[in-house]
C-alpha cells in the first residue's frame, strides 16, 4: 500500500522542494539587501519577456536536456553519473574532429555525423568508469569525478598544442566550414521574432527527439525494463537472469553518449568551433535537472526549461541589479539539488504522515457511518 497518492509523489513533492529552494534563495537576496521580488521580476522578464530572452533560455535548456537525460538514464539503474561535464567536453572533441576532418557538403549529413561522433566520444569517456564499477566495484562517482578532471586537462592540452590555429594565441580550434553550420532560430522560426543573435539552433529539436528516445527506451523496451529492474534491486535482477555487467556498461554508455551530444548544441550549433570550457557546468546542472524532473523525460524538459530561464535570467540580473552577482544562479542551483535530492526526506516524511492521517480520518469516518 502506498503511503501517498501518486500525484503527490511526482508533482507535489518536487514542487514543494523547488518552492523551498526559491524561498531560501529569496532570503539570501534579502540578506544582501536587495528586493527578492524585484530580482524575480528581472529574471522572469529577462528569460521570457522577449524573443531574445527565449532564444537564450531555450538554448541553455537544450544543454540541460541532454545532460539531464544523461543523469536520469543512469539514475534508473541507480548509477550516479557525475561525469557529464567531462563526457560533454570529450563529445565536443568528437564533434570538432569530424567537422574539421571531413569536407561536408551539407549540414544535414554533417549533423548526423556529429551526433554519431559526439555520442561515441561521450560514451567512450564513460566506458572506463563503467567498466571499473562493473568489474572492480570501484565507485562510479569517484571515477567519473576523476575523469572530469582528466578530460579538462586533455582538452586544454589538445586545444593549445593540436587544434590551435597557427599564429593565434586563443586556445580554440579553427572555425568549422560554413556548410556545417546548423540553422539558427532566426532561420527556422524568424517569424516568431528570433533575431540572428539568438543562439537557439536546430539542436533543440535533437534534444526533444532524445527525450522521446529515452522515454521509449526506459518504459517500452526490454532493455529499459532490465535497467529499471536492476535499479530497483540488484540481487532480484541477477536472479531474474539480468547480467549486471551488461546493464552497468550499456546504461553508462547511453548516459555518456547523451552528455556528449550536448556538444552539438554548443560546439556545432553556437560557437561553430571548439573552445575552452564550453561545457560551463552544464554537466552538473544535469544532476539538478534529473533530480527535479524525477528522471522522467517530461520532468527533465520542464526542469531544463526552469534552469535555462535561471541562467538567462541570471545574466540579465547582473546588468539590472549589479549588487547581485551572477553566482546567485549557482546558489539557486545548489539549493534545488539540496532540497530535491539530499533533503528529499525532510519534505517527504511530513507529507507522508499528513496523507496517512488524512486517510485514517476518512476511513474512520466511513466505518462510523453504518453504526449510526
Amino acid at each position: 500500500m502506498d503511503k501517498m497518492p501518486k500525484w503527490a509523489d511526482i508533482i507535489l513533492i518536487p514542487l514543494i522542494s523547488v518552492v523551498l529552494a526559491l524561498v531560501v534563495s529569496g532570503l539570501v537576496v534579502a540578506l544582501i539587501g536587495e528586493s527578492p521580488w524585484r530580482a524575480m521580476q528581472v529574471m522572469v522578464q529577462g528569460a521570457f519577456g522577449s524573443a531574445y530572452g527565449w532564444g537564450y533560455t531555450l538554448y541553455y535548456a537544450t544543454n540541460f536536456i541532454f545532460t539531464g537525460l544523461a543523469v536520469a538514464v543512469a539514475f534508473h539503474a541507480r548509477l550516479f553519473n557525475i561525469g557529464g561535464e567531462g563526457q560533454a567536453a570529450i563529445g565536443g572533441l568528437g564533434v570538432a574532429i569530424i567537422l574539421l576532418g571531413v569536407a561536408w557538403p551539407h549540414w544535414t549529413i554533417a549533423l548526423l555525423a556529429a551526433i554519431l561522433f559526439s555520442a561515441a566520444f561521450g560514451a567512450a569517456w564513460a566506458a572506463v568508469p563503467a567498466y571499473l564499477q562493473a568489474k572492480r566495484g570501484s565507485h562510479i562517482v569517484i571515477t567519473t569525478i576523476m575523469f572530469n578532471y582528466i578530460a579538462s586537462a586533455l582538452l586544454v592540452y589538445l586545444l593549445v598544442n593540436v587544434f590551435r590555429v597557427e599564429g593565434s594565441m586563443a586556445p580554440e580550434s579553427a572555425r568549422f566550414a560554413e556548410a556545417t553550420n546548423l540553422p539558427t532560430a532566426s532561420d527556422f522560426a524568424g517569424f516568431l521574432g528570433f533575431g540572428t543573435s539568438a543562439p537557439l539552433n536546430f539542436a533543440f529539436f535533437i534534444a526533444l527527439l532524445a527525450c522521446v528516445g529515452v522515454w521509449l527506451l526506459i518504459w517500452k523496451t526490454r532493455l529499459g525494463y532490465e535497467i529499471r529492474a536492476f535499479g530497483q534491486s540488484q540481487t532480484a535482477a541477477v536472479y531474474a537472469g539480468i547480467n549486471p555487467t551488461k546493464i552497468i556498461m550499456i546504461t553508462m554508455l547511453i548516459s555518456g553518449g547523451l552528455a556528449g551530444m550536448m556538444a552539438i548544441n554548443v560546439v556545432m550549433g553556437e560557437a561553430e568551433r571548439l573552445v575552452l570550457d564550453f561545457v560551463e557546468g552544464a554537466g552538473f546542472v544535469g544532476i539538478a535537472v534529473a533530480l527535479m524532473g524525477r528522471s522522467h523525460p517530461v520532468g527533465v524538459v520542464l526542469a531544463a526549461l526552469l534552469f535555462g530561464a535561471l541562467y538567462q535570467g541570471g545574466a540579465e540580473l547582473q546588468f539590472e541589479m549589479p549588487a547581485i552577482s551572477r553566482e546567485m544562479v549557482v546558489v539557486i542551483q545548489a539549493l534545488v539539488i539540496l532540497f530535491t535530492g539530499a533533503l528529499d526526506n525532510m519534505v517527504r516524511m511530513p507529507m507522508e504522515s499528513l496523507f496517512l492521517s488524512l486517510r485514517r480520518r476518512r476511513e474512520a469516518g466511513q466505518s462510523q457511518t453504518p453504526a449510526e
Binding site: V28, I32, G33, F80, I82, V128, L132, R136, S138, H139, V141, I142, T143, I145, M146, F147, Y149, I150, A153, L154, V156, Y157, V160, N161, F284, I287, L291, A323, I324, S325, E327, M328, V329, V330, V331, I332, Q333, A334, L335, I337, L338, G341, A342, L343, D344, N345, M346, M349
Partner: protein, 325 residues
C-alpha cells in the same frame, strides 16, 4: 639541478601538500564513520572565504581562522542533517554543498567588498606569518652558504606557517585517535557495521555527527590555510579542485592516516613540479604541464582499476543507517 633547487621544490611540495593533507584527513574521519564526503571542496572554499573576509575586517588572522572553521562546520552540519538525520543521498548532498559554497562565497564577497567576488589583499597581520625555527637562516644568500644539513633545516624544515606544522601533527593524532582510543574503535565500527555498534548500545547518529563535524574543522583549517597563509586573500573558486585531489589521495591511501600523508606529499610534489617547470623534458619526450595536473586523477583510476593493490572503502560507507523498529 643543484641541491638547493631540489630543496626548494620539496619546500613548495610541503606548502602545497598541506591543504590536501588537511582535507584528506577530513575525508578520512568522515568516510571511516560511513559518511561519504564529496563536499570537501565546498567546505574548504567556504572556509577560505570567511577566514579571509573576517581576518581582513577584524585585522586578526586568528579570528579569521575561527570564522573559517565555523563556516566549514555549518556546511558539515548541513551534510550531517541531510545524510544522517534525513537519510538522504550523501553524494548528492556533497554536490549541493560544493555548489552552495561556490555560489555563496562569490555572492557574499561581491556584497561585502565589491571587488568582483574576491576579498581585498590581506595585510601581513591578517595572514599567518612563516615560523622561523631557532637558528635557521632566512635569507636565500645565507642559506646558500650553509652545508647540506643546514640547508635542509633552513629551507625545508623551517619557515612554514603554523598550520603546516599543525597539519603534520594531526596525522599521528588522527592515527592515535582512530586506532588507540575507544572513540576511534567505535567510529571505525560505525563505518563498517553500524548495526553492531547500535546493538552495543552506542549511538550511531552521535558518532557519525562527531565524525562529520571533525571533518568540518579539518576542512576549515585547510581553507583558512589556502586564503591566509598560501595566498593573501580569497579569489573565486580558489580551492581549484583540491578537495577532489584530497579525495583521490584518500583512496590512494586506502583510508589510512600515514598513507594519506605520503599520498598528499606525492600529489603536492606533482603540483610543485608542475608550477616550477611548464613542460618537462625527458630525453626525446616532453611531458606537458597538463599531464602533471591530471596525474593525481590518473593515478587514482589506476589504483581503482586494481593494478596497485585493492582499495576497499569502509563497508557501510554511503549507506544511511535505519534503526530496525
Amino acid at each position: 639541478m643543484d641541491f638547493l633547487t631540489v630543496l626548494q621544490i620539496l619546500d613548495s611540495t610541503v606548502r602545497l601538500a598541506t591543504p590536501l593533507l588537511l582535507a584528506c584527513l577530513a575525508g578520512l574521519w568522515s568516510e571511516r564513520a560511513g559518511i561519504f564526503d564529496i563536499g570537501l571542496e565546498g567546505k574548504m572554499l567556504a572556509a577560505a572565504f570567511f577566514s579571509a573576509a573576517i581576518a581582513f575586517t577584524a585585522g586578526s588572522v586568528w579570528i579569521g581562522l575561527l570564522a573559517g572553521i565555523a563556516a566549514s562546520m555549518v556546511l558539515a552540519g548541513l551534510h550531517g542533517a541531510a545524510s544522517i538525520t534525513f537519510r538522504g543521498n550523501q553524494l548528492i548532498s556533497g554536490v549541493a554543498i560544493n555548489f552552495l559554497a561556490a555560489g555563496l562565497t562569490v555572492v557574499i564577497a561581491q556584497t561585502w567588498f565589491q571587488q568582483g567576488g574576491r576579498t581585498p589583499q590581506l595585510p601581513s597581520d591578517a595572514r599567518f606569518a612563516n615560523v622561523e625555527l631557532p637558528g635557521a637562516a632566512t635569507r636565500i644568500r645565507d642559506i646558500a652558504q650553509q652545508g647540506p644539513l643546514g640547508q635542509i633545516y633552513s629551507e625545508l624544515i623551517s619557515g612554514h606557517s603554523i598550520i603546516v606544522y599543525a597539519a603534520l601533527l594531526i596525522v599521528p593524532l588522527t592515527w592515535w585517535a582512530l586506532y588507540r582510543t575507544r572513540f576511534g574503535l567505535r567510529l571505525r565500527a560505525v563505518g563498517e557495521n553500524p548495526a553492531a555498534v547500535d546493538t552495543a548500545g552506542i549511538s550511531v547518529v552521535g558518532l557519525r555527527y562527531a565524525a562529520v563535524m571533525i571533518a568540518g574543522v579539518l576542512c576549515g583549517l585547510a581553507g583558512a590555510y589556502l586564503a591566509t597563509a598560501l595566498n593573501a586573500g580569497f579569489v573565486k573558486d580558489m580551492s581549484a579542485g583540491r578537495g577532489f585531489i584530497a579525495l583521490a589521495a584518500l583512496i590512494f591511501a586506502k583510508w589510512r592516516p600515514w598513507y594519506a600523508l605520503s599520498a598528499c606529499l606525492l600529489f603536492g610534489f606533482f603540483d610543485a613540479v608542475g608550477n616550477r617547470f611548464q613542460n618537462i623534458q625527458l630525453g626525446e619526450l616532453v611531458v606537458p604541464v597538463q599531464f602533471m595536473q591530471a596525474l593525481p586523477y590518473i593515478l587514482v583510476v589506476i589504483v581503482l582499476a586494481g593494478l596497485v593493490g585493492k582499495a576497499i572503502p569502509p563497508r557501510a560507507g554511503g549507506e544511511p543507517y535505519v534503526k530496525e523498529r
